[in-house]
């Protein structure tokens, strides 16, 4: 086979065995890899009624046909599992090197099933794979784990990729994630908790010699160049040169920066968090993923303020958002520290930000007192208290045990008015780090997302191809629904390949060229577009069988509240919500009452087998 290695690694933790399993080319053509293939495995092997912590749950860690090429962004990997926040199908990706290294070792993916009686990690290398003792890694944070495994196995810095869970995953914090290659994160919907329930601490893949066969390697080289040029050009090269480090000021101006748990949309100190200011100030150094020339990912040392000397990775926008405006603190150095501490403990920065912000609001309003919070003074912007609280959550210590359930469950447990202050969806997931009252497409996506994480967005190179409104009025309900529904699957294609969004910008046309140059399958553009739609729909069906009902697709009162200030205060989404949901179901071809995709939708995507 070209492009694919033709096999995955099966890991049965209950038996303590690993073995190679062949991949069928027909399945690969239909699902490509990554999220698509993961959804198929999940559907076929995990009863949707099971609890996420059941040993029969699986985790599929997948690359795809482009993994291991030098097309920028193809070091990414996708995790698919039944997630701990929504107890539904989930898929979450991390960038870095793992996807490339795994394919060079000879595997398209790793499928983990069962649960181990003792802590283990998986080591994949050129000669094969093995399960190794991870008891010495218990309670180590994700950066420490990376270092320890590399030292144990004798690999220097970039010659091995390690992704691990931190104490949060070990303690089954519902929003624990997997972190590796110096802070890249696959953190949505509790994949880290699932691994914790299996006592699987980490995955380590050695950088091996590339023996992958491609049909047209020269074409892939050209596409690599084209992708770099495309990435440099997209949005004037903003992301290529700065990653997401410069987003905060613009987000505040647009009214979609999350400030003080949605209590306000004004954050005067926004410019302190501008990457153009922070990068030169904090001695940052570029630390790119495999194949990528962009300056998205940097490591840095804080140089001023009480956290001067702290070394870690530059916060993504999501992390600036949580650890700056959302908890209402203004020291970027402190935000660097909290972002990295959250990564190290192994928790999703988005959920953690909503949790902490909600706690601070409860504290301000007296719903939670110091004695409830194990002596922590959770006033707005209290950095040290936040740091301590994150540790408590990761170790399920004291009130941290409640908070480890996520903001929805914690708020519901506390009860009373406090439930109305929390930001969540009724499915159990929470948004990314924005105020979606200024970003309607994403509020809709967060609520309907099958994976509990971003399924589509505006980040699509060819809007016309995906029938998205252009120009787009982001507060026009019809536009919003059309953008969400019509482009559904566009980003999922990237998640099946598996390729980073910030290099591909979901350029489905170039991705189709790349698939064909790698595999020789001669797929049409329409076929490739369908792959994304198929994966999304498959997970939809699975989630419905797992107990999802349309009434759960609702934002919490605070989430869809009306802004009290800022540029969007006269644009409440709530009055439009019902109509938008009706229209969304219509465009998606789903039954409005049951939420199930209609027979013709299922047929079009070749998913009849899954609905019998």
């Amino acid at each position: 086979m070209y492009g694919s290695t033709g096999k995955i690694l099966r890991v049965d933790l209950t038996q303590g065995k690993v073995w190679d399993e062949a991949l069928e080319e027909a399945a690969l053509r239909k699902y490509l890899g990554g999220t698509g293939l993961g959804a198929k495995y999940l559907f076929e092997e995990v009863d949707p009624k099971l609890d996420w912590s059941d040993p029969k749950n699986i985790v599929y860690l997948g690359s795809g046909p482009l993994g291991g090429t030098r097309i920028p962004g193809c070091g990414t990997i996708s995790f698919t599992t039944k997630g701990a926040m929504t107890n539904g199908a989930t898929s979450t990706q991390a960038n870095g090197n793992f996807g490339a290294y795994l394919k060079w070792c000879g595997y398209d993916g790793i499928l983990v099933q069962g649960a181990s009686p003792s802590w283990k990690y998986i080591y994949v290398h050129e000669g094969g794979a093995e399960l190794r003792d991870a008891s010495y890694l218990q309670d180590k944070d994700t950066w420490e784990t990376e270092d320890a495994i590399k030292e144990e196995l004798g690999y220097k810095e970039r010659t091995m990729s390690v992704f691990s869970i931190g104490p949060a995953g070990e303690n089954l914090v519902r929003f624990a994630g997997v972190f590796g290659d110096r802070g890249h994160a696959a953190a949505h919907n509790g994949v880290g908790a699932v691994l914790g329930s299996k006592k699987l601490k980490a995955f380590a893949a050695a950088r091996a010699t590339n023996k992958l066969q491609f049909v047209d390697a020269d074409k892939l080289g050209e596409i690599a160049k084209k992708t770099t040029e495309g990435a440099k050009a997209f949005g004037g090269g903003g992301v290529f040169n700065w990653g997401t480090s410069r987003v905060v000021p613009g987000a505040e101006a647009g009214g979609w920066l999350p400030v003080k748990n949605y209590l306000t949309d004004i954050f005067p100190e926004k410019d302190l968090f501008d990457g153009a200011r922070v990068r030169p100030l904090f001695q940052s150094k570029n630390y790119p993923c495999y194949g990528c020339a962009s300056h998205h990912y940097e490591l840095m040392t804080v140089t001023e303020g009480p956290y001067a000397g702290y070394f870690g990775k530059e916060p993504e926008y999501e992390q600036w958002a949580s650890w700056g405006p959302q908890i209402y603190q203004t020291d970027p150095g402190a935000a660097v520290m909290l972002s990295n501490e959250c990564d190290r403990l192994g928790m999703d920065t988005n959920e953690a930000g909503w949790v902490v912000g909600w706690v601070m609001e409860c504290y301000e309003k007296g719903a939670l007192k110091k004695k409830d919070l194990d002596g922590l003074e959770m006033t707005w912007g209290n950095v040290e208290a936040t740091r301590a609280l994150l540790k408590n959550i990761a170790h399920r210590h004291g009130y941290g045990n409640n908070l480890a359930e996520g903001v929805k469950r914690a708020a519901e447990k506390l009860g009373g008015e406090a439930v109305n202050w929390a930001i969540f969806t009724d499915r159990g997931n929470t948004p990314r780090g924005h105020d979606h009252r200024g970003r309607w497409v994403e509020m809709l996506d967060t609520v309907v997302s099958n994976t509990g994480t971003l399924e589509t967005q505006m980040l699509v190179k060819n809007k016309k191809l995906w029938n998205m409104p252009d120009p787009m009025d982001i507060f026009n309900p019809e536009h919003v629904v059309a953008a969400e529904a019509n482009s559904k699957g566009s980003m999922t294609v990237s998640d099946c390949l598996v390729q980073c969004w910030f290099t591909s910008f979901n350029d489905t046309e170039t991705q189709t060229e790349a698939i064909n140059a790698a595999t020789g399958w001669n797929m049409s553009l329409e076929e490739v577009m369908k792959v994304g739609r198929r994966a999304v729909t498959l997970m939809r069906i699975y989630n419905l069988k797992a107990g999802l009902t349309p009434d759960k697709e609702k934002p919490s009162p605070r989430y869809c509240s009306q802004s009290v200030d800022g540029p969007n205060k006269d644009k409440p989404i709530a009055p439009h919500w019902e109509k938008m949901m009706d229209r969304y179901y219509q465009l998606m071809g789903w039954d409005r009452k049951t939420g199930m995709p209609l027979p013709e939708t299922i047929k079009e995507l070749g998913l009849e087998d899954f609905t019998k």
Partner: protein
């Protein structure tokens, strides 16, 4: 060596491009010459050079100006864009009487004018008879105008092309692009101000 010779360009472009070198004669007056070269650089620095270099360390774009001054040894360079400034620098050098040889690279008439204003006489000239041999292997002239500003060929033609592309795409200003090229020239005789003009012209050409 002749690293500041063979700089290609039109009269107009070259009228904004002057390199002054300062060095001892090894075995004759090189005892304790470091301090004299440091003094040269200090004098140069007072007149806002667009580049300065001490080869063992680097130039103003790879290091801080003071670091360049402190590492003066062997031979040092400063680059200016106006003949009036060159006259002023030469006047100060005459007064300073460092005893080191000073060479000025630029349009002959202009340099003579500067020397005269400073009360100096030219001694020896170095003429460039241009490029001979398999000239078909050369890149285009506009690229050469930029690359020949580094006599040791450390500014690659491909890097110049890449920078023109960046300017064309609006991702870099000509000045920013010139600052990517400048650090590669170890001696610090590359003229980034002139380079920015040349790059801008290349970026606006229809291709």
């Amino acid at each position: 060596m002749t690293h500041s010779l063979h700089r290609r360009g039109t009269a107009e472009s070259l009228s904004g491009d002057y390199v002054i070198l300062c060095l001892p004669a090894v075995g004759i007056n090189d005892d304790g010459h470091d301090s004299k070269l440091r003094e040269f650089l200090r004098i140069a620095l007072r007149h806002d050079p667009v580049n300065m270099g001490a080869i063992m360390l680097g130039n103003m774009y790879s290091h801080k100006a003071q670091e360049v001054v402190d590492s003066a040894h062997g031979i040092v360079h400063a680059v200016f864009v106006s003949k009036d400034v060159v006259s002023e620098v030469l006047k100060e050098l005459k007064e300073a009487d460092l005893g080191m040889s000073v060479v000025v690279s630029g349009i002959f008439e202009n340099v003579d004018e500067c020397a005269e204003k400073a009360g100096l006489k030219h001694h020896t000239a170095n003429f460039s008879l241009g490029i001979w041999g398999k000239t078909e292997k050369l890149p285009s002239n506009d690229i050469l105008e930029v690359t020949t500003m580094c006599g040791h060929a450390m500014v690659s033609a491909n890097l110049v092309r890449a920078m023109v592309k960046e300017i064309k795409a609006g991702r870099k200003t000509p000045e920013e692009a010139a600052k990517v090229l400048a650090p590669q020239c170890a001696c610090g005789i590359f003229n980034p101000k002139r380079a920015a003009k040349l790059l801008a012209a290349m970026a606006t050409k229809k291709s």
